[in-house]
């Protein structure tokens, strides 16, 4: 005898969907994402900068940032000098074309150091340099020299960690 097919149970539309736990999980995920974005200064790297690659490194600290892009020198999100073909304009240099001292960069760094002294308990002289991997060493030397003149003595280079 053929067995009668059991009818499928009808869903009771009056039973409310328990969404509270789902809402809890989603809120926790959102808080974790926000916390990660806030605690990582380089979560959103500078546009147009291809960072160099390294197998070593330490966590990025919250410090004054100098970004060296193909077009600009940027201190804490403020462009201070233009770069053309890997060189800063001679007019921005105190000692002419062969000089290392970049005047507007120095002024911006002195200002940043003063702000850092006001806001933090101690000025540690740390500066984070976010530079494109194709930036010539000469330009990097000029930036380091100028930063040194503005009392920054600890340089951190942002890299992409491959390990």
């Amino acid at each position: 005898m053929r067995q009668r097919r059991r009818p499928r149970p009808q869903l009771d539309s009056s039973v409310p969907l328990a969404l509270t736990s789902l809402l809890d999980i989603t809120a926790i995920v959102l808080i974790c994402v926000l916390r990660f974005l806030v605690s990582t200064p380089l979560a959103l790297p500078v546009a147009g900068v291809a960072l160099p690659v390294a197998t070593t490194g330490q966590p990025v600290t919250d410090a004054t940032t100098i970004a060296i892009t193909a077009d600009h020198l940027i201190v804490n999100d403020r462009a201070v000098a233009r770069i053309e073909r890997g060189q800063v304009a001679t007019s921005a240099k105190r000692d002419g074309a062969d000089g290392y001292f970049i005047t507007p960069l120095h002024a911006a760094l002195v200002e940043a150091a003063a702000a850092s002294r006001r806001l933090k308990h101690g000025f540690d002289g740390a500066v984070l340099i976010v530079a494109d991997r194709n930036v010539p060493f000469r330009l990097l030397s000029e930036v380091l020299y100028t930063a040194g003149q503005a009392e920054f003595g600890r340089f951190e280079f942002a890299v992409v960690n491959t390990r």
């Binding site: 979560a43 959103l44 600290t61 990097l140 951190e156």
Partner: protein, 178 residues
Amino acid sequence: MVRGSSQRQLASGTEGVPALALTPIINLVLLLTAALLVAGSWVATSAVVVVAPRINSEASVAASAPASDQAPLHLTIVITDQGFYLATSGRVLSANLTDTAVVHGPTVPRRADGSYDFVELTAKLAVVKDAFPEESRVVISAEPEIGFGVVVQTMDAARHGGDRGELFADVVLSADVG
């Protein structure tokens, strides 16, 4: 007689209290999470630390000198378009790491495909480290047109020798040699 939902609400004492509409909130939070995940960069970034070169003073020279009886090494790596030159105390090292007054070529030349041979550089530095185990300082310099990426990879190769462990951890950048 079948009781309707309003009758059930009356029985449970929730009359007049509207149910909390959580669905739009969940939609909003999910969209916000997705937007943040897309906007954020998940590349693992870190920092490579170097110190500024100090002006030659008695204190800084004494601080950089190793505690042993060995003469200070003053190890220097110069990056050129031909490869890496290693030098110690003003003398350039040849490919077999012997001192030479006449420079015949880079200590570690570039590979045939034009890339820099960081593996060979690390191997050469490991030999130097074996001879000077107390030394941890290396000065890195480069020609003006050498890219920042090559400089960072050189620092990387000088700091860690893979299974060999730490080589020269205190990296000092020097001005270009142009």
